[in-house]
């Protein structure tokens, strides 16, 4: 009977890790969110305050609500990124020389740390010393306060759009690579068959390419959404949530509350609230996209 115990034995490290870093952590955090624990005082001081943290988060914390809105606005860079990436993938899919080189060039920003990229773009965006404004001047356009709180659209500050631009630049390469692989995995016979049946290039695109690339697109969209909602580093490095909290995002705000203002209980409540939001959004997204033909889920 030794055989039947082996899997459990092998899984012991996993169970331990899971118990400590997963179950306990999440459970303790959840409990914490109902207290007003300040980490500099002993735990015994933490009072159970019921839903007060959550109430405050949703009704009394305009910054948190703004942060949530900002996160969703930020996520909008993803469709743009996907579209442009798809376009580039199509271009690269044709027989161009140096495709490998282009692939590498596109991929470099993806693996470069967001910290490094943020520092560079921080400089790029600088009003006086950054090179972007002189370029604009050359083109006859007015110089911009890239990281300012001037509103581009109602409720959307320029700083946020600038951050989105930077993220698009960084992650295009990832989409390009994935779509390129997807495009290249379409057997040539499909295109041949379509061409033989009299379909022109446009029809072939619509009826052969797109349906076969759809899973890749949807996969990119879903994983990117949840990941982008949790944006932290970009905002932390470029604006710290400023100016005047206009670019605040949920994870950064939670970080500020918990480790800046030392309100662990409140921070935990924030994180669970946002977690719930992300969960709902992800589920909705999967539902919607499943109808669109993604038959993996």
């Amino acid at each position: 009977m030794k055989r039947s115990y082996i899997p459990y034995i092998f899984l012991i490290p996993f169970f331990i890790d899971f118990a400590i870093f997963s179950a306990f952590t999440l459970g303790f955090g959840f409990y914490m969110s109902f207290t007003n624990w300040n980490p500099f005082r002993p735990i015994s001081d933490a009072k159970f305050i019921g839903l007060a943290n959550y109430v405050e988060a949703l009704t009394d914390d305009p910054v948190f609500l703004l942060a949530i809105k900002n996160a969703f606005v930020y996520v909008l860079y993803e469709p743009i990124c996907i579209l442009i990436g798809f376009f580039f993938a199509l271009v690269l899919n044709t027989a161009i020389k140096g495709r490998s080189l282009f692939r590498t060039i596109f991929f470099v920003p993806v693996i470069t740390s967001t910290v490094a990229i943020s520092i560079v773009w921080n400089w790029l965006y600088d009003y006086t010393y950054g090179p972007l404004n002189p370029i604009l001047k050359l083109l006859g356009l007015p110089p911009q306060h890239w990281l300012s709180h001037i509103e581009v659209l109602p409720g959307v500050v320029q700083a946020l759009t600038s951050i989105m631009i930077m993220s698009t630049w960084q992650w295009i390469g990832l989409n390009v690579i994935i779509f390129l692989a997807a495009l290249q995995s379409i057997p040539k016979e499909y295109h041949e068959a379509a061409r033989v049946s009299g379909a022109n290039a446009w029809n072939r695109f619509i009826h052969v390419t797109i349906p076969l690339v759809k899973p890749a697109i949807l996969f990119c969209a879903i994983t990117a959404t949840a990941g982008s909602l949790q944006v932290f580093t970009e905002v932390f490095m470029l604006t710290r949530g400023g100016p005047i909290q206009t670019t605040q995002v949920p994870v950064l705000w939670m970080y500020t509350q918990a480790f800046g203002f030392l309100r662990f209980g409140y921070g935990a409540a924030l994180s669970y609230t946002f977690f719930a939001i992300i969960l709902v959004v992800s589920l909705i997204e999967i539902r919607i996209l499943r109808r669109g033909g993604m038959w993996y889920y």
Binding site: L11, R103, F236, S271
Partner: protein, 251 residues
């Protein structure tokens, strides 16, 4: 394109615009090493230790669990698998605060441990390993068992070598991710000498303050990124396969 202009390489910059540097000041690079707090070499060392250890541990852990889930029939297999999938839906920041307290109680703040141990059974990695190991034919495993190979031996001598592509892809992705991570290392390592490269670089966020020394900043960033770029160029094929493999993982 964008890349070249932003990746300001031989940065000899005084705040003027020069597209092609006329006389690159290579001595900026050595100067950059001490410009950072902590010194760049120390930061790189920290990053390397942490990233390499974590990735190795993760590969071992995830492949073991993936193997168990893939090849053993036992009660709870399905349940655990479903649990792991649901783990992938939980965002990373949810457990951040309690995890910090946990590290405090362990006395692990300002050591390497919080960056190495937690997360070594990453749900994604386990999932991918399982999907891959499932494709390994059972005959090989049975043959080994018949020849008297121990269960652990099967894992070590058969499964691992056969999973090299998956291991390479997962390992690389996690390596990059760990190397570039900011939030967790920043929280865990406040002692200057322990900071990883990203945390050290994060101190340079205020571009206004660093204006007089922009050339050093740029040199720092370049130096900090070179290891990853080198790694990527070498392993490009595997990396790309890994990223795209994620797309088709569910197949």
């Amino acid at each position: 394109m964008f890349i070249s202009s932003v990746k300001t390489k031989e940065e000899i910059m005084s705040p003027d615009i020069e597209w092609i540097p006329s006389n690159p000041k290579w001595e900026n690079f050595p100067a950059a090493f001490s410009f950072l707090t902590p010194p760049l070499t120390r930061a790189l060392l920290n990053s390397t230790i942490v990233t390499v250890s974590h990735t190795l541990l993760l590969l071992l852990g995830s492949s073991l669990v993936g193997y168990v889930l893939a090849k053993y029939r036992f009660r709870g297999n399905r349940a655990i698998f479903l649990w792991i999938i649901s783990q992938m839906m939980i965002p990373g920041f949810t457990g951040l605060i309690p995890a910090y307290m946990l590290m405090k109680w362990f006395g692990w703040i300002n050591t390497y441990w919080p960056l190495i141990i937690p997360g070594c059974f990453s749900a994604y990695s386990i999932f991918l390993m399982r999907q891959y190991i499932i494709t390994i034919p059972d005959d090989v495993i049975d043959a080994a068992r018949l020849s008297g190979c121990s269960e652990l031996g099967i894992y070590w001598r058969i499964i691992l070598p056969l999973s090299k592509p998956a291991l390479a892809a997962i390992g690389l992705i996690n390596f990059v991710w760990t190397w570039n991570d900011l939030l967790w290392p920043m929280l865990m390592l406040t002692d200057t000498n322990m900071k990883t490269v990203q945390v050290a670089l994060a101190g340079l966020w205020d571009i206004q303050a660093s204006l007089p020394a922009l050339h050093l900043v740029a040199a720092c960033i370049t130096l900090a990124t070179i290891p990853l770029i080198v790694l990527t160029v070498i392993t490009q094929k595997h990396l790309i396969k890994g990223w795209t493999g994620l797309t088709y993982a569910k197949r």
